[in-house]
Amino acid sequence: MWYFRPSFKKITNNTLLAHITVSDGSPWFSGHFPDDPILPGIAQLNMAAEVISIARQENLCIKRLSRVKFKKRIRPGDRLEIHASATEANLYTFRITSEAQDVCSGVMCLAATTASDKSIMTIAIDQTITRVAEIIINELKLEDVTPTTFNPDLDLVDEVGIDSMDLATIALVIRDEFGIRIDEDDYPTLTTVRIIAAYIDQRKNGAE
């Protein structure tokens, strides 16, 4: 993810509140705009939808939007709260706030991703890759590399130097964050960040 992972403060059947810090290193800021970084509106909407997806442990995408208002700029490092409540199945009113001020609000209709949502799935996998890279960097305390510069095809054992205990630790962080179980017997197959990300997405989608 291009923001730090959400910290959920409250989740009920119909409502949620999550805290998020927008990463300084997010690629959204690099061109939007040079020397004046602002988080684009589409990124804000995607962030709200993704937080709901994580809370529901489902892959969801935005199908329809209404009454969306943008009221405050989001800068690198800003701390945000995302509030969402379901008014009916898959229909959410949402509000993003920062320092008790409204940033963005509206209504979004979500739907489970399908094969036709290929491009959205690709984005999701890319986000998973970035997040897995971030987990590995944090757990192994790697230097001189960022989640976005980490080569997802590096062999983690031969080229990064991780061992089974490192992988077990990473697997536990992934279990927490993505709500999936990684079988110990699968460790030998998890040789790159890209493969781990694909494994996560398969598990999240129910494929064993």
């Binding site: 054992v157 130097g161 991780i162 061992d163 089974s164 205990m165 490192d166 992988l167 077990a168 630790t169 697997a171 536990l172 962080v173 279990r175 927490d176 990684i182 110990e184 460790y187 030998p188 197959t189 040789t191």
Partner: protein, 360 residues
């Protein structure tokens, strides 16, 4: 600590390590995750001959001895190069080749030596020294054909922080462990426990039975409670090593002999070199020629149980048990590592074992 009654619920790892005591112990042990071991037979000679000896079983005893110091130096440099960070010097009796031991420690600074303790290993080799004890002196005389073993061993390693005495329980020496532990406690020494694990094809009387395992469990628990400063062990060690099921059955052994994968972990890096400096993957484990179904060996558990962190991270209790085991492992094997107080004071069942904790 928030450890309560046994629970099977799966918790988030972040919640498990949110407990301050768990977190402190986790931070302490994870600093040693870099350890990658291999073992080395140093010589094909020994100054005693013990019943059921692991070395003088199978093919490795017939390997020719390589005493060329340059060859050992090159081997250790190559081992270091391929990522080995912990050397275990064993068979047959490393104290007979002290210069080779020193060469190993000069290249790989962390390690341990398994010895019968009858000949002191010079202090320059700053490895943990595991001194084997198989019972009282009269039992040792019978099984090992050596007189006054404990007194000689203690003399050789008096006030030596490298020393850890390893008491191997057989069906015949269970009740002698208390006297040995008491003597070692008076001498300021430390002891840990091993279980006799039958070599392949062994038909002698030392193989454990359900009754001897139960009695061993009882004695270990008593010693752990009565000599907490002397005994390097935990309640989970007792569970893991005295179950009717062997280590492989409980935890799936990760050594190459039982693990076909060469992708990561022990299956990738572990080698067991013989005295001719050759190794055979099919025979590679810490105690080659042991019957895997009967293996409860302390060295095997140190790798096999330790490697199974993920499956223990299901709740605070199971993870605390695993941390106690790893803390014990590091205290027994790594020079300078000080064991903390055990987090658990009662036994818990291994994850997925589908059986209640073994009563103690």
């Amino acid at each position: 600590m928030t450890v309560g009654t046994a629970s099977t619920a799966t918790c988030k790892f972040t919640d498990i390590i949110a407990d301050p005591l768990i977190r402190e112990r986790w931070d302490k042990v994870r600093r040693y995750f870099f350890l990658r071991e291999s073992t080395y037979d140093m010589t094909n000679r020994c100054n005693i001959r013990c019943e059921g000896c692991y070395y003088f079983t199978g093919e490795k005893q017939f390997a020719l001895e390589n005493r060329d110091e340059d060859a050992w130096r090159q081997l250790m440099a190559a081992e270091k190069e391929r990522g080995i960070t912990f050397a275990v010097l064993a068979g047959a009796e490393p104290s007979l080749v002290p210069r080779l031991c020193r060469i190993c420690s000069e290249n790989i600074p962390l390690g341990a030596i398994a010895t019968n303790g009858l000949k002191a290993i010079p202090r320059e080799t700053d490895y943990r020294i595991h001194i084997s004890v198989w019972g009282s002196d009269s039992t040792s005389k019978e099984i090992r054909k050596a007189d006054c073993m404990l007194a000689r061993q203690m003399d050789n390693y008096r006030d030596d922080p490298r020393a850890a005495f390893v008491y191997t329980f057989t069906p015949f020496n269970i009740d002698e462990a208390r006297q040995i532990t008491d003597t070692l406690a008076e001498g300021g020494q430390q002891i840990t426990f091993n279980m006799f694990s039958a070599p392949v094809g062994y038909t002698g009387p030392l193989r454990h039975t359900a009754e001897s395992l139960a009695r061993t469990r009882e004695v270990m628990a008593g010693l752990l409670a009565d000599y907490p400063q002397t005994v390097l062990f935990s309640w989970y060690n007792i569970v893991a090593h005295t179950s009717d099921r062997g280590l492989h059955d409980l935890f799936s052994c990760t050594y190459p002999r039982m693990n076909a994968s060469t992708a990561i972990g022990l299956g990738r890096s572990f080698r067991q070199y013989r005295t001719d400096l050759k190794w055979d993957r099919d025979a590679a484990c810490c105690v080659p020629d042991t019957d895997c179904a009967d293996c409860r060996h302390y060295a095997a558990g140190s790798a096999v149980v330790t490697a199974r962190m993920y499956r223990h991270a299901i709740n605070v209790e199971s993870f605390a048990a695993w941390l106690d085991y790893v803390d014990t492992y590091l205290a027994v094997w790594v020079r300078g590592y000080t064991k903390g107080a055990n987090l658990l004071t009662y036994p818990v069942a291994p994850p997925g074992s589908n059986q209640p904790p073994t009563p103690l």
